[in-house]
C-alpha cells in the first residue's frame, strides 16, 4: 500500500473525520502534536481531510451515492467536476452582476434642454 493511499485511507476514516470536525469547532482539539511548522505530508493530509469532508457532506445530503468512495479515481473525478462546476457558477454569477445596474442614472436618458 502506497503512502498516499494510506493517507487517504486515514483521512476518510470516521476517527479522523470526527477529529477534523471537532478541531474546527472546539478550541484545543488538535490533529497534530505540532501547531505550526507543518511538514509536506501533514499539508497533504490536511488537503485530503478537506476533500473527504466535502465528499461526505455531499453523500449525507444525498447529492451523490457512497459508491464514490469505492475508488480513488472516482473521488478525484468527483472533486474535479465539483470544482469546475463551482468555478462556472461563480463566473456566471459575475456576468449576471455585471449586466445588472444598481445605479439607474447609468441608463437614464435625460431630455435635452429646449433652446
Amino acid at each position: 500500500m502506497k503512502v498516499y493511499s494510506q493517507l487517504r485511507c486515514l483521512a476518510k476514516s470516521t476517527q479522523f473525520q470526527n477529529l477534523f470536525a471537532a478541531s474546527k469547532e472546539i478550541f484545543g482539539i488538535k490533529l497534530f502534536r505540532n501547531s505550526f511548522d507543518f511538514s509536506n505530508i501533514q499539508m497533504i493530509f490536511l488537503n485530503y481531510l478537506y476533500m473527504y469532508d466535502s465528499i461526505m457532506r455531499d453523500i449525507a445530503t444525498e447529492n451523490i451515492s457512497k459508491e464514490v468512495l469505492s475508488d480513488e479515481i472516482y473521488e478525484d473525478a468527483y472533486m474535479l467536476y465539483k470544482k469546475e462546476n463551482r468555478n462556472k457558477t461563480v463566473k456566471d454569477n459575475k456576468n449576471t452582476i455585471r449586466n445588472f445596474h444598481l445605479v439607474p442614472a447609468q441608463k437614464m436618458i435625460f431630455p435635452k434642454k429646449s433652446k
Partner: protein
C-alpha cells in the same frame, strides 16, 4: 478443502493486520511529524529540519550551485535539450505527448465526475476509470521515465539530488542509550558512509516530511 479455506482465511487476516499496522505507522508519522524506523536492530528517525539546519542546507546548496555553474561539462536542462535535438532526440515532443495525454485525462476525469454526480451506472463509471487508470498509471509514466532518464545529468537534476542528500544527512537521527542524536556530524562523514540501503531508506522518508524545496 477445509485446510485450504483456513489457510485462505489466515492469509486474509494477516493482510488485514499488515494494513492496520501500516496505517498505524502513517498515523504516527502525521501526528508526530517524525518518521521512526528500525534497521538492523537499531532505531533511526528522520524529522523536519530546524532553522539552523535549514540555513546550513541553503549554504551548501548555493555553494554546490556555484560549483556546477563553473563546470563546463555540466549542461543546463535547456542546453541539454538542444544537444539531444541535434542528435535526433526531441524532448519537446515527449513534453507535447505528456501534455496531450494530461488534457485528455482531465476531460475524462470531468466526464467521470459528471457521471458520478448524476448517479450513472457502474458500467459507465468503470469504463471511465479504466481509461483514466491506463493513462495515469501506464502511458504518462512511460513518457516521464524517458524524460527523466534523458535529463538525469542536467545541472538542475544534479542540484536536486544533492539537496536530497543534504536533507538526509541533516535529518537522520539514531537512538543511542535512550537519546536521539544526529547520525552524522559532518557532511564528509555522510559521504563516506558505506551503508547505501540505510541512506536510501532514510532518504525516501525524509523527502516525505520536508517542505517543497
Amino acid at each position: 478443502m477445509e485446510n485450504n479455506d483456513r489457510l485462505q482465511e489466515a492469509t486474509k487476516i494477516i493482510a488485514e493486520m499488515n494494513k492496520d499496522s501500516d496505517l498505524n505507522r502513517v498515523e504516527e508519522m502525521i501526528k508526530e511529524n517524525k518518521i521512526t524506523f528500525s534497521y538492523e536492530e537499531k532505531q533511526y528517525r528522520v524529522r523536519v529540519l530546524n532553522i539552523r539546519e535549514k540555513e546550513e542546507l541553503d549554504g551548501l546548496r548555493r555553494k554546490k550551485f556555484g560549483q556546477l555553474m563553473q563546470d563546463k561539462d555540466i549542461l543546463l536542462e535547456k542546453d541539454l535539450i538542444k544537444v539531444y535535438k541535434e542528435r535526433g532526440i526531441d524532448i519537446d515532443k515527449i513534453d507535447a505527448e505528456i501534455k496531450k495525454l494530461e488534457t485528455h485525462n482531465d476531460s475524462l476525469y470531468l466526464k467521470c465526475g459528471e457521471a458520478i454526480s448524476k448517479n450513472e451506472s457502474e458500467t459507465i463509471l468503470k469504463s471511465y476509470r479504466d481509461q483514466i487508470y491506463e493513462i495515469d498509471m501506464i502511458k504518462i509514466p512511460i513518457f516521464n521515465a524517458q524524460k527523466t532518464l534523458l535529463l538525469e545529468f542536467s545541472l538542475e537534476n544534479q542540484l536536486l539530488n544533492y539537496v536530497a542528500m543534504i536533507i538526509t544527512y541533516l535529518s537522520l537521527d539514531i537512538l543511542e542509550d535512550g537519546i536521539w542524536k544526529r547520525l552524522f556530524s559532518t557532511f564528509e562523514e555522510f559521504q563516506n558512509y558505506n551503508n547505501e540501503e540505510l541512506i536510501n531508506k532514510a532518504g525516501s522518508y525524509s523527502m516525505l516530511l520536508q517542505y517543497k524545496i
